[in-house]
């Protein structure tokens, strides 16, 4: 089996978006658990999401422009901002949210009696 490319199956312009959805769905469904106290701390959550996204957006725009990486037009919706598909912009807030959720979930599971 070759890992060089996963080229089978119908090509959909929604695929990057579906990947983001797959990353987000589990954490989003579980994040309301009150022991995690994620939404009651929405201010630091939004601040962290915005701060980390801003830093990595800047890196991403420059790196994309230089050609470090590019996005296959077959798998994105076709909406571009500063040369990057909108899916790529969403990647960072999505990942920041999933990271915070996982961090709080791991801590809660490890220290059950806190």
């Amino acid at each position: 089996m070759s890992w060089s490319s996963i080229s089978r199956g119908r090509r959909m312009k929604t695929e990057y978006c579906i990947v983001l959805g797959c990353i987000l769905v589990g954490p989003l469904l579980l994040s309301g658990h009150r022991r995690l106290r994620i939404y009651s701390r929405w201010k630091p959550l939004l601040k962290a999401m915005l701060a980390v996204s801003t830093i990595y957006w800047i890196w991403d725009v420059i790196a994309s422009a230089r050609g470090h990486w590019s996005f296959n037009p077959l798998y994105v919706a076709g909406v571009y901002i500063l040369g990057m598909p909108v899916e790529e912009w969403l990647f960072f807030p999505v990942l920041a949210f999933v990271s915070v959720f996982t961090w709080e979930a791991v801590k809660t599971l490890l220290w059950k009696d806190r």
């Binding site: 990947v19 701060a51 890196w59 296959n72 990942l95 791991v106």
Partner: protein
């Protein structure tokens, strides 16, 4: 060395410094490495799909083209920085707002 290779390594050094400057002590905590293991377990299939389909293509001149499955080695380094910085900033803003 290639640009993406250097930048990914520099980002990790920068994130270590931020962790020290903000005194968040995230990376040096044991729980961080458990968190990281969980995140990488999900990162490999999702990032693997992005790089394998491929949805994201890499410029030959800018990375080593050494891959684990479909993932460039640099992506593991980059991901470390991204995930660590997110948690450092979350801990920092939680403490600043006194909502720990």
């Amino acid at each position: 060395m290639k640009e993406y290779t250097i930048l990914s390594l520099l980002s990790v050094i920068a994130v270590f410094l931020v962790d020290r400057l903000l005194r968040t002590r995230v990376i040096t905590s044991g729980v961080f490495w458990i968190f990281l293991a969980v995140m990488y377990a999900f990162k490999i299939p999702s990032n693997g799909y992005l790089t394998g389909r491929p949805i994201v293509l890499y410029g030959e001149r800018f990375f080593m083209n050494v891959r684990l499955l479909t993932l460039p080695l640099e992506d593991f380094v980059y991901g470390f920085g991204l995930m660590a910085l997110t948690i450092i900033l979350w801990e920092h803003f939680k403490r600043k707002g006194d909502v720990r």
